[in-house]
Symmetry: C3
Subunit: 314 residues, 3 copies
């Protein structure tokens, strides 16, 4: 593994998953890997889970960590190549990233989409600049179009809780009050459409189709009830439209997950990457039910990060 | 010890005090306790002493630490159970706290009072939610009505500097320019009214009576000069009214501690939890006198925290 | 070494430089020095390089570190002695610094100049207060008039890359869009004017003369082209006027470093402390040329800090 930014970087996903399950059983057993190593973490927007789980993962591995809130803690960054920097930006991303690479052994970076310029977002222009200028391995802590550490944590969670050899996993769109990125569902589709022991179904209202480069031919079912039938795992998440880029095309409250929806499933376990808008995306009754794995899933963010750090630093 | 939120949680205060004095003599001698442990610290408002002393305490114990400024670093939190989260709050406290519990072995949390809704504050509704949802031990880094790590540090300081078997300890109200919480004096009273070798006196202008659940029958003396007579230790602190909740009932500058006040005492040592408004609450001449223990007291915040971490992690 | 705030504190600069080069060869070889030590870092304004390189230096040395953004993370500080603190400042610097000294073994502090009151800045009133109240060794992370860790890193870089026994080092003023402090050029002059194996030249438009207490009789050449002739190292940096204090007296774009300027030199290596306004101070073609050492120079910030920490903690 050279960087970790997408499913492709994971290489043999089953081997990586097995490693994660092994590390979770023995979280402090690999500290020779992290000794004298420093994990740098840069956030261009707020974070709770990613920030804290990444720090914990570094500590578990015997490494140190630093966190930088770009903008607030440091300088405002210029993104354009060749810019004459006589305006408000104080440092070019190429210098900032090359310099930060001097202060760590692996660099985690969170960027975010514009949600207005689809080409810029889907070409991952900001993140690719970071990859270009970094001189240490880079981990995506979420980029304009992907959130691979989340999807890997979801895979760990499904693997831990599955009761049968094969499982049906459903990704369902859920209502929200704001226009959200597609990164989490993109990555979820990118990963789960490839897992051999998963029957993967995506359900959403018409117009919310994800980019086919992520769904890769996965079954799309517009009837949420039909999609949920027999599901072993249900992951709910809101996203804005990819085709009508960044738009909220409607927010039908019938799509909010409730116990009535879950009753259609095979006593499915419930997943959500959090933060969740309670009683908008999903009802309290689903989130707080015994079958809800949202806290375990968040806990597995430590082990997806720790496994990736292990692979990059070993 | 299961959590540390009040005097009651301290259990045998004399044993805990002895442990603190022992740890202070040998601060790095207990690192087997903290090894592979992570202390999470969440602040809902600014902090200097608590933040830094807690981090230092974790390091002394061989543990790691992370700090989260809630709101600035992460998402805005919803406090109401059953809320339909279609407004500005982005994550429910129940999810945030349960998730943060996944990323640490003990969780320190600072909340603050409304100073407008006495019931909400004195029922510790926010802090109790945190206790309810946390799945690791919780340490109060100050809550709406208490600041137990401060009082424990004060007790360590008094124990270190007392010159006689029994000592007279006076808590005196002091003027200020803002309406401040009652947490520090509440906790000070809750602790010192129980210490067997302390004669405890509270002095303040009429109207500033603290909640009797904290003062527990301690002697209250409205005449500040009379209260100070023969004192071995004087702790000064401003607070707003409990009975006329959150109000500043008057700010008589005669209550500002000066050398003339200290001359009434038994050459008393001076305490203040800091930050202090110099020449408003207390004059420079008192704060900078040889008998002022304000820096030693702040230094003991490391050892009150380290002792509590030791008890919770051992 | 008692504190590290200026060239004078460095003592024998050649011995310190040799130590730095030795530590860089064996960065984890001195962890007995940092064991159980905590490095406190306080910033009164944003930082990227200093913040992260200082943290990495502490980690390399086996120490722990904490970072405080003064103002944002903690209380607003009062600077005036004897102030009646009935306004907006919440804690006196004397208390804050004495308290922070309780929570670390060495304290790094960044302050900044007013750029309006030259006496206040050049008497280092804020930094001297910090020195006065600290009870642990203090490291300047940049003050109103100096940035010694930067100059020390520059010296390490020049020593690493010099190809001849003696070298010509040129400090050249460069245009900028804002009025910047004189700390970096002051310190650069304070250090390089003393290095025996360096021929040191300063070039800038008339009116940008630095304080002679820093330039100490160094050659000043107003003709930039003449100054650059035969240079082995060129350090570019903008600064505002010292004599017409804090003013921008002109911003002649001809002073922007370009390949045409560099062609006058002895194939000089290029230095800049960063952040750099690309294509305003220096053209991309110079910054991105093989002879540009800006990233190596930033990397050496780790080793200047680590060497200073080593000396203060040993």
């Amino acid at each position: 593994m050279k960087n970790f930014t997408s499913f492709a970087d994971a290489g043999d996903y089953q081997a990586l998953l097995n490693k994660a399950l092994e590390i979770k059983q023995n979280p402090f057993g690999y500290q020779h890997i992290g000794r004298n190593k420093t994990v740098g973490l840069i956030f261009f927007n707020p974070s709770l889970r990613t920030r804290l789980s990444s720090v914990k993962a570094a500590y578990n591995l015997g490494a140190q960590a630093w966190v930088l809130n770009a903008g607030a803690d440091s300088w405002t960054l210029e993104m354009a190549d060749g810019a004459v920097m006589n305006g408000s930006t104080q440092e070019h991303i190429k210098d900032a990233i090359a310099v930060m690479s001097q202060y760590c052994d692996v660099l985690g970076v969170r960027t975010f989409p514009t949600l207005t310029d689809r080409d810029e977002d889907y070409e991952e222009r900001t993140f690719n600049k970071i990859l270009q200028y970094a001189t240490v391995p880079v981990i995506s802590l979420e980029s304009a179009t992907r959130h691979p550490l989340q999807s890997f944590a979801d895979l760990i969670t499904v693997a831990e809780f599955k009761r049968t050899e094969r499982v049906k996993v459903v990704l369902t769109w859920a209502p929200h009050v704001r226009a959200l990125p597609q990164c989490v569902p993109n990555s979820f589709a990118e990963w789960f459409s490839e897992v051999e022991w998963v029957d993967f179904v995506i359900t959403h209202p018409e117009g919310y189709e994800l980019d086919e480069r992520f769904t890769k031919g996965a079954r799309i079912e517009y009837d949420q009830r039909k999609a949920l039938e027999g599901a072993d795992f249900v992951q709910a998440k809101n996203w804005s439209s990819f085709h009508d880029y960044g738009q909220v095309l409607g927010n039908d409250p019938a799509w909010m997950l409730t116990p009535a929806h879950m009753a259609l499933t095979n006593d499915a376990k419930f997943l959500h990457c959090l933060p969740v808008r309670r009683n908008v995306e999903v009802s309290d009754a689903v989130l707080d039910a015994p079958g809800s794995l949202i806290i375990e899933e968040a806990g597995n963010r430590v082990f997806s990060m720790q496994t990736v750090l292990h692979e990059l630093l070993k």
